[in-house]
């Protein structure tokens, strides 16, 4: 199989990640629950993982990195925990439902008011449009770092500088960029970074986290056992404990820790260069094919390694199924949990076929995928 669904999850993981998980599954006790060696071993691995993640994203305080099971959980913690009743929030039409649904729920239950930065027909947003939406009571900008549909990337550093100037929080969904491009929370003025481990970071599913820069009161999304302060009726105040009720995914976090080591070894910039190269190779090979329509900004702005397209008026689901069954190529069809992005692109009905490239893909796989697209396009009336 040629796996080109890396924006959903990276299927192939580095061997060191697999080894770390296997080792953890035979040696780990429960972190923060007891002082026997197997519990301490787990606590130490999680502590080191926290430090590595903090360094990886330049989050100033490692204790303000809390582990979650994915970006969605991190975003829920950030949105429900940092926003307050009646706040004004700016977001974009590029967002995934992991941002949209928590915001819509906050609007419905807590009366927050949301303004959207509009996307054009290429799925791009202009930084100037963020400026225009700011109000005196704007509490936060909540936005993705890159569209999971088009791959278009936002200029987070510029948005961060604006938020910093206006005294607003910047909450970033880094699902499509963590591990795929360098992220520096300090330099980009990111207040809260939400990431997942199982995509470009090449860690196990069920890993991710929320990184908090500075003195931000994020109320716990869930409460429960922490292994400390057991007679306290409320969740302990200290980070990261306040955001980590319940047993952590220690096995997965061991894999995440190894994945960060791996990324540091190969270099995130090297990952970005390779993945971008594969994406560009595929784009160049299919952009001129008759009946193929590609969505997104390819003018030279930084982008994530995604190419979304349609072939004629074919249902994207039919195309993805043909790619899977006749060519052994895994892609993702449909709406990609990005309803506003599809509306902006005019693809609500047809959806789109998303090809997303990863560190372990090869040029020959890209060429094979391009050949398949050409053949399908040629086969229709």
């Amino acid at each position: 199989m040629i796996y080109l669904d890396n924006a959903a999850t990276t299927m192939k993981k580095p061997q060191c990640v697999i080894d770390a998980v296997v080792s953890a599954m035979t040696t780990f006790g429960n972190a923060s629950r007891g002082a026997h060696e197997s519990a301490l071993t787990t606590s130490r691995v999680i502590y080191q993982a926290r430090k590595k993640v903090a360094t990886f994203f330049n989050c100033p305080k490692s204790e303000q990195v809390a582990f979650t099971c994915n970006s969605t959980e991190a975003l829920n913690i950030a949105i429900f925990g940092a926003l307050r009743e009646g706040d004004h929030v700016i977001t974009t039409e590029l967002e995934h439902n992991s941002v949209l649904r928590p915001l819509f729920r906050m609007a419905s239950e807590k009366g927050i008011r949301i303004d959207f930065v509009k996307a054009d027909r290429n799925g791009s947003v202009r930084c100037e449009d963020f400026y225009a939406l700011f109000r005196p009571d704007t509490r936060a900008v909540v936005c993705t770092h890159a569209s999971n549909l088009t791959g278009n990337r936002l200029d987070i550093a510029r948005i961060g500088a604006l938020c910093d100037k206006r005294g607003a929080l910047l909450i970033v969904d880094a699902s499509q960029t963590a591990g795929a491009t360098p992220i520096d929370m300090e330099a980009m003025k990111i207040s809260i970074l939400c990431f997942t481990g199982h995509k470009s970071m090449m860690a196990p599913q069920g890993t991710g986290g929320i990184c908090i820069r500075g003195d931000i009161d994020v109320r716990p999304f869930k409460t429960g056992g922490t292994g400390v302060q057991s007679f306290l009726r409320t969740q302990p105040e200290e980070y990261p404990t306040r955001l980590e009720a319940g047993t952590l995914n220690g096995h997965g976090i061991a894999g995440l820790s190894a994945a960060v080591d791996y990324l540091n070894e190969v270099g995130v910039s090297a990952v970005e260069e390779k993945e971008t190269g594969l994406m560009r190779r595929f784009y160049e090979a299919v952009v001129s094919v008759p009946k193929v329509k590609i969505y997104g900004d390819y003018s030279g702005n930084p982008r994530s390694p995604i190419v979304a397209l349609n072939i004629g008026t074919l249902d994207s689901a039919i195309v993805a199924d043909e790619l899977a069954t006749s060519y052994g190529i895994a892609t993702r069809a449909g709406a990609h949990c990005a309803p506003l992005m599809h509306k902006a692109l005019g693809t609500e009905e047809q959806g789109a076929v998303r090809f997303s490239f990863g560190w372990f893909n090869t040029e020959s796989e890209v060429d094979e995928a391009a050949r398949a697209v050409r053949e399908i396009a040629q086969s229709i009336e």
């Binding site: 130490r44 502590y47 057991s230 302990p236």
Partner: protein, 78 residues
């Protein structure tokens, strides 16, 4: 069952602080180890650093250097 003795016990606000302190102590060759939080310090659960009472000065210095504010630090019979 060993007999009770006097030890210096340092309790922490979080497991993260306990891990950070352990790492710093190991880096500096300081003595002691993590134990379950004794009830003499606090009821409940958590981790505490247990060391000989005469290590108080050096461990207090390590706490300060590591930027860790302990929940409690005292000599007690455990």
């Amino acid at each position: 069952m060993r007999k009770k003795e006097y030890f210096l016990i340092i309790a922490f606000h979080s497991t993260h602080d306990a891990m950070a302190f352990e790492e710093t102590c190991h880096d500096r060759g300081a003595e002691g180890r993590l134990i379950p939080l004794p009830k003499e310090i606090s009821a409940g659960c958590g981790l505490a650093w247990c060391a000989q009472p005469d290590a108080e000065e050096s461990l207090t210095g390590i706490l300060a250097q590591a930027g860790i504010i302990p929940q409690e630090k005292r000599v007690c019979l455990v």
